[in-house]
């Protein structure tokens, strides 16, 4: 059975200017042992997608408007609140972007791991302590015993992120959501964390949903990739296909903005402009305002996500073959 199946997810926010849809008809699935990466710029809706899966859409104002999130076949959107308390932190765990602020400053490291074990696995305090120390060792701490009684401010960012991962792994989650887990860290520490995630997903056979804007991380870790833009999926493919045959101009733009060490490119290319705000979307294709190939059709009609190669879909008239690149 598919581990996670997100179907037509729509998440909305109520703002002063009306209801805005920040996640628009998003569907994807993650299998056990598989890593799916969601890629996109800030504001593309990727973090809100992950918070929707966790059931942690910011309140008040935010809500899942429609769609299904099936975890091993059972829908989390329609599940009662009580059931979600059992699932969050146990079956689905999350590692956040900001390791510096994601741990509670007034509780010890050990306390913050052990409380999850006590709550979900009903361990005694002493058993939880032993298991917490075991988890700390597993995420690579040599002096786990002494760390147990230390406070977050005594640790570096990379160490704190490893503690966050230890917390997330404490109940052997079926699905681990990692929201930009390495963004705030040094490059060398990033490599350690990625390595850790890869090893752990293999050990536990968990599915990983990786939210990132770093294509290097995607290449390193992901099996499947979803590219999001302005709340929609614009391209979906296996990682090798995406890197070798990017279909959507946005994906191509992202690829081109990655600095290369081997080429003789003098300047970094960038995609001009910003992601449109969800309350001021263009009428046609949402990327049309920034797309180098945009034509009249793109401005008037919104393309749909369609299969363009085997195992690869894109939301683009160009990729569909309905329009062609103008000779430049």
């Amino acid at each position: 059975m598919t581990l996670l199946d997100v179907k037509n997810l729509c998440t909305e926010f109520k703002s002063k200017r009306g209801v805005v849809r920040v996640v628009d008809d998003v569907s994807f699935s993650v299998e056990r042992g598989e890593t799916l990466a969601i890629v996109g710029e800030s504001g593309s809706g990727k973090s809100m997608t992950s918070l929707s899966i966790m059931g942690l859409v910011p309140q008040p104002g935010g809500r899942i408007a429609s769609g299904q999130i099936l975890l091993e076949g059972s829908d989390l959107v329609s599940a009662p609140k009580e059931a979600l308390y059992q699932i969050r932190g146990a079956d689905i765990a999350m590692v956040f972007q900001e390791p510096m602020t994601s741990l509670n400053p007034v509780l010890t490291i050990g306390d913050q791991i052990a409380e999850v074990l006590i709550y979900h696995k009903h361990l005694s305090r002493s058993a939880a302590r032993l298991e917490s120390i075991e988890l700390l060792k597993r995420v690579g701490f040599a002096r786990a015993e002494s760390l147990y009684d230390e406070y977050p401010h005594q640790l570096s960012g990379g160490m704190r992120q490893r503690v966050m991962i230890a917390i997330a792994l404490s109940c052997n989650p079926k699905l681990l959501i990692a929201d930009e887990p390495t963004t705030a860290l040094d490059v060398t520490v990033q490599a350690q964390i990625l390595d850790l995630l890869r090893r752990l997903s293999a050990d536990y056979d968990s599915g990983i949903l990786l939210i990132t804007h770093d294509l290097g991380v995607v290449a390193e870790l992901a099996d499947q990739v979803v590219v999001m833009y302005a709340g929609q999926i614009v391209e979906q493919a296996a990682v090798a296909d995406l890197f070798d045959y990017p279909q959507h101009p946005y994906t191509q733009g992202l690829m081109a903005s990655v600095p290369r060490l081997d080429g003789d490119v003098k300047r970094l290319t960038s995609i001009a402009g910003n992601v449109p705000s969800p309350d001021a979307l263009p009428r046609g294709c949402r990327f049309s305002t920034r797309c180098p190939h945009a034509q009249a059709l793109c401005v008037e009609q919104a393309p749909e996500l369609k299969p363009v190669r085997s195992g690869q879909s894109a939301r683009c008239f160009l990729a569909e073959g309905r329009i062609f690149k103008e000779a430049s």
Binding site: M54, L56, P60, L84, Y85, Q86, I87, R88, G89, A90, A93, M94, F96, E98, T101, S102, L103, N104, P105, V106, L107, T108, E115, V116, Y119, H120, Y151, H153, M164, I167
Partner: protein, 315 residues
């Protein structure tokens, strides 16, 4: 920690000396000498100067101050000009009544205000939050004397449930119930104002905490809202509130002039206001210094409590 305590204690000395010099000077400069205000106006000039020198009031101000300081350091705050009794005795007589009233009102304010503040923050922008906020502003806006009078009229005069004033039933034996009975109204009146301020303070502190990333982490662990707010939010939200308690400590002894007067509560507030009007220097100085010492200690206690609650602070 020990060296921090010693350093802080030593630094109190210049602060307290400074406070005593300033308050002594202000008092000396204020119009209305005790000799003029309180001595029998019909006595001869010779008798008057004899009395002045007996009180030490004909010395130059610096000498008066040094004499006062020397005695105060030995714990002797002199004798009241008016009541001819040792000041320390007058204070210790009245201190328990004030401590009881202020302590119980602070207690009442805390047990109501802190939960209300937390609730108000957790349910931000809901009718409950608006209700609590409106109530807080009413509490701040309503003057003590008016609220006190209204409560006396309703509960003491019309309903006859509570005594009109005083600390004990006249002629009755001491009993805890009788004392509590007399305590109810003044405590409520005094608590109203600080309750309102404390609610607002707790609310804003908790609001800031509840938007922190570690609260989201706690939710991601699957905890129920009550556990998220109480275990992960409250201890962090409490840190700024502790300052307020440190600052409230001196008011515990300062008492409230208005409420003590209104309910004829024999506390230090009444003593202080009487002493000021009568230019009873020894009493004023003793009470000012008591307040100063408690303010300084209150700050120290708040700083020590910080370190207890927040592991990031070390001394």
């Amino acid at each position: 920690m020990v060296s921090y305590l010693i350093r802080r204690s030593l630094s109190m000395i210049p602060i307290l000396i400074g406070i005593s010099v300033i308050s002594f000077s202000i008092m000396y400069l204020a119009p209305g000498k005790p000799a003029v205000m309180n001595l029998d106006p019909t006595i001869s000039a010779e008798a008057r100067s004899r009395q002045l020198s007996a009180l030490g009031l004909d010395d130059p101000a610096p000498i008066q101050y040094i004499k006062w300081l020397g005695a105060a350091l030995k714990g002797d705050f002199g004798v009241s000009y008016i009541r001819k009794r040792p000041v320390s005795k007058m204070i210790t007589e009245r201190l328990p009544a004030t401590l009881l009233l202020m302590g119980s009102s602070l207690f009442l304010a805390s047990i109501i205000a802190i939960p209300m503040g937390i609730l108000s923050a957790h349910k931000q922008y809901t009718p409950l939050d608006y209700g609590i906020t409106t109530g807080s502003f009413l509490g701040i806006a309503v003057p003590d004397f008016w609220l006190g009078l209204m409560l006396i009229m309703l509960f003491s005069v019309n309903l006859g449930w509570t005594p009109v004033g005083g600390i004990a039933t006249l002629g009755g034996d001491f009993s805890v119930l009788d004392r509590l009975h007399h305590l109810i109204l003044p405590t409520i009146v005094l608590a109203t104002g600080s309750m309102a301020a404390l609610t607002r303070y707790t609310r804003s502190s908790m609001l800031e905490v509840l938007h922190q990333d570690y609260i989201r982490t706690a939710r991601a662990k699957g905890f129920r809202e009550s556990k998220v707010v109480m275990k992960h939010g409250f201890r962090n939200g409490l840190i700024p509130v502790i300052t307020l308690f440190g600052l409230l400590l001196p008011t515990l002894v300062g008492g409230s002039v208005i409420v003590e007067k209104l309910f004829s509560w024999p506390g230090l507030g009444l003593l202080f206001i009487d002493a000021t009007f009568q230019r009873d220097y020894p009493v004023i100085m003793a009470l000012v210094m008591l307040g100063a010492v408690l303010t300084v200690i209150g700050n120290l206690v708040a700083d020590l409590l910080y370190a207890m609650v927040d592991p990031r602070i070390e001394y």
